[in-house]
């Protein structure tokens, strides 16, 4: 199983929509996907029509006796299962701190289900905290949605600086999100980011009303508007990630 985390220090950049749409496209591309909603707001849980309930709360989940399997729920999508979120996750940092090795706790919770899924998508809250460090320990890659704004590069630099101190950090894969190609500023900022960050993925996700409709439809874009540019972008994003996560000579 490969694990990616949709992560950003900033909020409102499209982490959850990226996580849910990516999970859907991955499932259509032949992957068995586990979405782990780590954000106490539970937006991914809501979009995938799962009851927002962590049985026993996040304290029990990350405790020594905790295990992930009993928390997994089916979703509205055939090959996508979910570990739902609830409000108890707002104390995840505290509960992780009480464990012996907090930075590897999420990874050790994922290990027993690693053979059952091809891809784990960790949808993270916007912060940099102990929970984030545990996410970095579990993820093979951080998928970082970046909106074309003047401070976007700075946010990425902060993250990269933080990860430089980690011995074996995940690869950082920034992806442009909410891009409006009609706006000159967006085009210029996107070009600048690509120059500064060679890791920037080629796919960019457009700013689109159809993405906002996800909350109404409670479904990924590809499910209710498969012919839109946004749906095509998420499909391309999945294809690009396949190249990073499953290189041809490493089955």
């Amino acid at each position: 199983m490969r694990a990616i985390a949709t992560y950003s220090i900033k909020g409102g950049v499209g982490k959850t929509t990226t996580a849910v749409n990516l999970a859907y496209e991955a499932s259509r591309g032949g992957a068995r996907v586990l979405v782990w909603d780590l954000d106490p707001q539970g937006a991914a849980t809501y979009l995938l029509r799962v009851r927002p309930k962590v049985r026993g709360g996040s304290r029990r989940l990350v405790s020594k006796q905790g295990e992930l399997e009993g928390h997994i729920r089916g979703s509205d999508l055939s090959a996508v299962n979910v570990v739902p979120s609830d409000f108890s996750l707002r104390h995840l940092d505290l509960h992780l701190e009480a464990t012996k090795r907090p930075e590897s706790r999420l990874s050790s919770l994922l290990d027993p289900v690693a053979d059952d899924y091809d891809l784990a998508v960790l949808d993270c809250p916007p912060s940099i905290s102990l929970a984030s460090e545990s996410v970095f320990g579990a993820a093979d890659a951080l998928l970082v949605p970046v909106v074309p704004a003047t401070l976007a590069g700075r946010t990425l630099t902060q993250l990269a600086d933080f990860l430089d101190d980690q011995v074996e950090g995940p690869q950082v894969l920034p992806v442009l999100s909410m891009v409006d190609r009609r706006r000159k500023l967006h085009r210029e900022l996107a070009d600048d980011l690509a120059k500064e960050w060679p890791e920037l993925l080629e796919t960019s996700v457009p700013s689109a009303a159809v993405v906002e409709r996800m909350g109404v439809e409670r479904a990924p874009v590809g499910r209710f508007a498969p012919r839109t540019a946004a749906a095509a972008a998420y499909r391309e994003l999945w294809q690009e990630l396949v190249g990073h996560l499953w290189p041809p000579d490493e089955p």
Binding site: R2, A26, S27, R28, G29, G30, A31, R32, V33, L48, R49, V50, R51, H71, I72, R73, G74, S75, D76, S78, A79, V80, N81, D115, D116, Y117, D118, L119, R218, V242, G243, W246, P248, P251
Partner: protein, 511 residues
């Protein structure tokens, strides 16, 4: 885990009515064909997976894993995938590739039906349990076998086991037969079709007190079955493992026939030993070239060169030789001589003719043969020095194989754990001897190829230089393997190992 019901006293409409009454939504009926794909030896099945090409509302590959794990779906266009290279990059292809390796995917079971898909949703609109009703079931694979009239398959969403239990209880009231497993397993079972693939094991169930002639016949019959199973795939060149398994069955047969000198009638041994020696010889060049072509990327890795345009003509030349060798081999395999050999052998094995020169129980006889094979291996191995010619290692490799085949073919007589531990030690030695031999064969083939290519005017200098570098690298590796031999043999020829074999044989030496 899916649960299935076969129902004979109710109609599909009645089942659907029951489901609707239980709050299920039901889709309009659809004709669906499901073709299960697996390797000849059932590698996906062994790995706990089931791959099927499903043609219904969409055309897709569906890969089922262990019970409780979600199914993987991949839209598919064109012919079903056959070889690992036909599968796309990504997790789906990676899972299948890991299981099948170099083997071809073949259709092993096909079933068609009219399908009614139904599901019950919770108040969030999420399906929590699905029930699929199959009627008008037919199967081209099943032939004339009687198939169930109606099958219902129930699968729960993860975390919703109670919903599943309620549905199963409701369907159980319709008085059908309940089965653990999905629709395909249920129909295949009813049709008497196995999804397990053809067995490759040389081991047959035996007891130490069994009559030796009967036991040898049972072992040889099993090996003949393997040969006959793999012959069509070898001739059709479906994948290289058919020829591999065909040849291994021949070698095992030759070895058992030779070791059966006190058991099998002399005239039978002499006749068939010669026949199978010829058959083994006729299949050797094709297999050597299979190994060469399959291992080409690994061979190039020895000189840090990727499969490239520079070396592509060499690979093309090897492939051409491989093709010629296969054509020549097929002429032998399809000849009247081979047909006669196999028919006569089958006739003798299935008959009751023949008297053993030394009638007795199989246990003591096999114990003697294994002890003797071990003694020969140790004696010959101890005589090998740094100056010994490569042929001495080749001969020792044959000695090791002889011992290994006896341990495998008559393996059911021996304690499994202790046998496994001993075979693992032996395998370590065989790996060294096997690689040495492979490198010898590759060097000889490549040297000949370089001469042949040189005579062709179109060959450029870069390519010949690459071949030269390859020969150097292969020879370096061969020498390295040769140097490692002494250590490997010493690791095998230990007091502990010798004692382990004696302990393994003791219970069958005097049954």
């Amino acid at each position: 885990m899916p649960t299935s019901f076969t129902l004979s006293d109710v109609t599909a409409e009645q089942v659907i009515d029951a489901l609707v009454a239980a709050g299920f939504e039901v889709d309009s009926p659809l004709k669906v064909t499901r073709t299960v794909l697996d390797t000849f030896d059932g590698r996906l099945h062994e790995a706990g997976q089931q791959l099927a090409l499903v043609e219904g509302r969409a055309r897709e590959l569906v890969l089922l894993g262990e019970p409780g794990t979600p199914p993987a779906h991949l839209g598919w266009v064109g012919d079903p995938p056959r070889l690992e290279g036909d599968l796309p990059p990504g997790p789906f292809g990676a899972r299948v590739r890991r299981a099948i390796e170099e083997r071809a995917l073949l259709p092993v079971f096909e079933v068609a039906a009219t399908v009614h898909e139904a599901r019950r949703r919770d108040r969030r609109g999420k399906p929590v349990v699905s029930a699929t009703v199959y009627e008008d079931i037919s199967s081209a694979t099943a032939g004339e076998a009687a198939l169930p009239a109606l099958v219902v398959e129930v699968v729960e969403a993860a975390g919703h086991e109670r919903d599943d239990e309620r549905t199963v209880a409701r369907l159980a009231r319709l008085e059908g037969h309940q089965h653990d497993g999905g629709f395909v397993e249920t129909v295949a079972h009813a049709a008497g079709c196995s999804l397990e693939g053809h067995s490759r094991t040389p081991t047959v169930p035996l007891s130490a007190a069994d009559d030796a002639l009967d036991a040898f016949r049972a072992v040889l019959r099993n090996l003949l079955t393997t040969m006959l199973d793999n012959l069509p795939g070898t001739i059709a060149d479906v994948d290289p493992e058919f020829l591999h398994d065909f040849r291994v069955a021949i070698r095992r047969t030759r070895s058992v026939v030779k070791e059966g000198k006190r058991v099998l009638p002399t005239d039978v041994r002499e006749k068939f030993a010669a026949g199978f020696a010829d058959l083994g010889g006729a299949t050797g060049p094709a297999r050597d070239l299979d190994v060469y072509v399959l291992g080409w990327a690994d061979t190039l890795a020895l000189i840090d060169v990727e499969v490239s345009t520079e070396t592509a003509p060499v690979l093309a030349a090897l492939e051409a030789r491989r093709h010629s060798a296969h054509v020549a081999m097929c002429q032998v395999l399809e000849s009247a001589t081979t047909r006669q050999l196999l028919t006569d052998w089958q006739g003798w094995l299935e008959g009751v003719d023949g008297v053993s020169p030394h009638p007795g129980a199989v246990g003591p006889e096999v114990a003697k043969r294994i002890a003797s094979a071990q003694e020969t291996l140790l004696t010959h191995g101890r005589l090998i020095t740094e100056e010994s010619p490569p042929e001495s290692l080749h001969d020792l490799r044959k000695d090791a194989k002889k011992l290994r085949y006896l341990l495998e073919c008559f393996g059911s007589l021996l304690a499994p754990k202790a046998r496994g531990a001993f075979v693992s030690q032996l395998k370590d030695l065989q790996d060294n001897l096997g690689e040495h031999q492979d490198r010898e064969v590759q060097l000889s083939e490549l040297r000949q190829l370089a001469h042949d290519l040189h005579e062709e005017t179109r060959v450029d200098a870069d390519m010949l230089l690459s071949v030269g570098r390859l020969i150097d690298a292969l020879d370096r590796r061969r020498r390295q393997v040769r140097e490692e031999f002494a250590e490997r043999f010493a690791g095998y020829d230990t007091k502990k190992n010798r004692r382990a074999l004696r302990a393994l044989l003791a219970p069958i030496a005097r049954p």
